[in-house]
Subunit: 435 residues, 2 copies
């Protein structure tokens, strides 16, 4: 039985989880793969901290370079995170002929094209199941289980922090601030939650899904990103009355001439299976032209779910190695020579339906002014909702539009915000209900 | 570029779908796999019938043996169905050194051990993603994406016909007969629906999932199977009042000394994600000890979803072949030498909670007799529900038990059915709510 030697860079939460499975479930892994997946080394600058796993002497070391340069090591697992030292280590490992497994979505989404090229030049594999949606096998599913499908669209909940906050606001009436605080107390949100709350983490993951779904290169910079910090309980209440749930979605759509790729709060009908995905759970709906809609649901983060995804990549590479080959499945699902340049639809050209919330002073004629501005921009209103009054004398006016163009909607929004009788910045939420 | 030559046996609905993808999406398949997946032959006894795909001259033939014996053909796809000629053809193909793809759940679940053995002896692959849950990639997910997990349990909706009928009864107040008739009119149910309605098709699929989840041999005969034909709108109404949905579930659980494997109508809490899986959709919840609960959801049948799954298997075998190897992933997820004999928990030893419905004549003392019988068998009652009266003077009595042993429950049921004041056979539904 050939042994596969593994070196892990980074012994934080996920690194510890991966080590736990490799060590504590060695028997199960051998039974499934027919080989021993041997953790030779794991590196961390801090080798003294107490961790929830027992290493043999000499396994936990501080020198990552020693791991990368060890000729016995077949697979390097990068779990340091970030885009500086992690990138450097991955490149060295690839150049040393090591297969690399990583969960680093920030790095892949920004430097993925370069890393894939280096992996190809060195004829090694680069795997990243754990980078997106935790234990949900969406990378493998897109690369291997939609082979005969044009992917028409992907809609996904990819950030547990945002989904937890939105669930707390909608199901328990929390304010945004209360919900965030609870998420932080429960460990679902970082002390600085910007990456999550502002949709950036979701955009990193969308860039990855976009690439493997459509066979295009990584293109993070053209993805529209909007977070959830401006959503109020009022919006959620109106959404519910209109038959919608608000979720932070990653959306990827295949158009004949371009790809839509955007991250923003989205109103989806309560009948959409994503609307039942609550708390910190993740889910991905893929619409293939042969499969129709499928959904994968599970834990998108956490030590063991994420470690489980890393182990899948290790086993995948090992099985291919044991079968006497390598690079069996293209890194991006399509052989590199078939990867096309990404052409992302400019956001201003998007057409969709909108929910528009204005907080208006209760003067006669406000409604007429707002609807006049929308009319001037060629935006047709489907429904108007006005009721109640805030203690400060303002009144929320909510409108739902027919299909409109983003560019026109933004022009209208700008004009509306300049009205004297609209003291607060108006806010729009895009609606997706053509399931 | 090496071409992969494919021969399909059977040009019915699914065979036509697979041929459509191979022919009409040849470009997409080449882009993804880097090779041409060439449909060399497809056989059917009827070569004249109009089909929704255009074959080149000489591709559609009546002689299956010619395909099986063609030395140029790499992969044989068996889509004839049934357990006689299909089995014979698969064995011949395996012995001729062909990799085989099949969707034949009835054959696999009954003769899977023999077929896997022959595939191993001839060092070829046997793939069957399309056999279970249509386009949902549950076979691949269990074999490749839960590597570091002990599978604690699987609960699945695997039969679209039953799920459609149960949805119509619960959401639209149909009777069982009305719902079945509608399913037949819509093409979701066969003229003879026995295989579906009585849970047999679900049991075939469970036998397959059970095998690859736990690394045990196929064992259909020990799976308890019960269909949905005795469920009434009354049961569904009570379930709803108690906070449950009734679904026909395939359940597989890993116990230290044995495996539970059973198919029966099941009450699940409305908070269980399977309770939102409606109409003809399928879904599989897998509880891994590292991943926690994950769910895969999608179309479990139909021409294109099923054909899509067959194409995945073809591409998988082709990618391994192109990488210069074969049999990369064990047929059953575990190398054959590690497959253990299945030890299925005898149903009489099951412990669970029960819903019990008795239709009683409205005599004083009936409730006391029924509860007395349960007490005699050591079964403790959690709640009792009695209300309303049928026009014939009978009254439904519904009880929910605490955890009880199946053997005792069946004894009690037998005694209750012999009471003079219980004119109809009493009925029990098992409850699963330890999520």
């Amino acid at each position: 039985m050939n042994e596969i030697n593994i070196g892990i860079l980074g012994c934080g939460v996920i690194g510890t989880g991966v080590a736990k499975i490799l060590i504590e479930k060695s028997d199960l892994l051998s039974k499934r793969t027919g080989t021993k997946l041997n953790l030779k080394y794991i590196s961390d600058l801090d080798t003294n901290r107490e961790r929830d796993v027992k290493f043999d002497k000499g396994v936990l070391i501080s020198d990552s370079e020693k791991i990368i340069n060890d000729p016995e090591i077949n697979i390097i697992v990068e779990l340091i995170g970030g885009q500086t030292i992690a990138k450097e280590f991955i490149i060295k490992a690839l150049k040393n002929g090591k297969h690399v497994v990583t969960a680093n979505k920030a790095l892949l989404s920004t430097h993925g094209n370069e890393l894939v090229k280096i992996a190809r030049e060195n004829q090694v594999d680069l795997a990243f199941e754990a980078s997106t949606a935790g234990c949900i096998p969406i990378i493998k599913t897109l690369k291997e289980s939609h082979i005969g499908n044009h992917i028409k669209s992907i809609s996904a909940i990819l950030n547990g922090t945002c989904n937890y906050i939105l669930t707390k606001i909608s199901k328990q009436g929390f304010s945004f601030e209360q919900a965030l605080k609870t998420a932080q107390e429960k460990g679902f949100a970082e002390a600085d939650p910007t990456l999550d709350i502002e949709g950036i983490d979701t955009a990193h993951k969308l860039a990855i899904l976009n690439t493997i779904a459509h066979g295009i290169d990584f293109n993070l910079e053209d993805i529209h990103v909007e977070g959830i910090s401006r959503i109020t309980p009022l919006d959620i209440q109106y959404a519910s009355e209109l038959g919608y749930t608000i979720k932070l979605l990653a959306i990827s759509k295949f158009n004949p001439d371009n790809i839509e790729a955007r991250v923003h709060p989205t109103m989806i009908p309560v009948s959409n299976p994503l609307s039942n995905v609550d708390n910190s759970m993740n889910a991905v709906v893929v619409d293939g032209d042969a499969t129709g809609h499928t959904m994968l649901y599970g834990h998108g983060a956490g030590m063991m779910p994420t470690a489980s995804a890393v182990i899948n990549d290790i086993a995948d590479i090992s099985r291919t190695f044991l079968a006497g080959s390598k690079r069996r499945t293209p890194i991006l699902g399509f052989p590199e020579k078939n990867i096309k340049k990404a052409v992302i639809l400019p956001m201003k050209n998007l057409t969709t339906r909108y929910y528009l919330r204005c907080i208006a002073e209760d003067h006669p004629g406000v409604l007429s002014k707002v609807s006049g501005i929308l009319g001037d921009e060629g935006i047709s209103i489907e429904t108007v909702h006005q009721k109640g009054m805030k203690s400060n004398g303002t009144v929320p006016v909510v409108m739902v539009t027919h299909i409109a163009k983003e560019e026109n909607m933004l022009k209208a929004l700008n004009k509306i915000s300049q009205l004297d009788s609209i003291p607060e910045e108006p806010y729009l939420i895009r609606i997706e209900d053509n399931k």
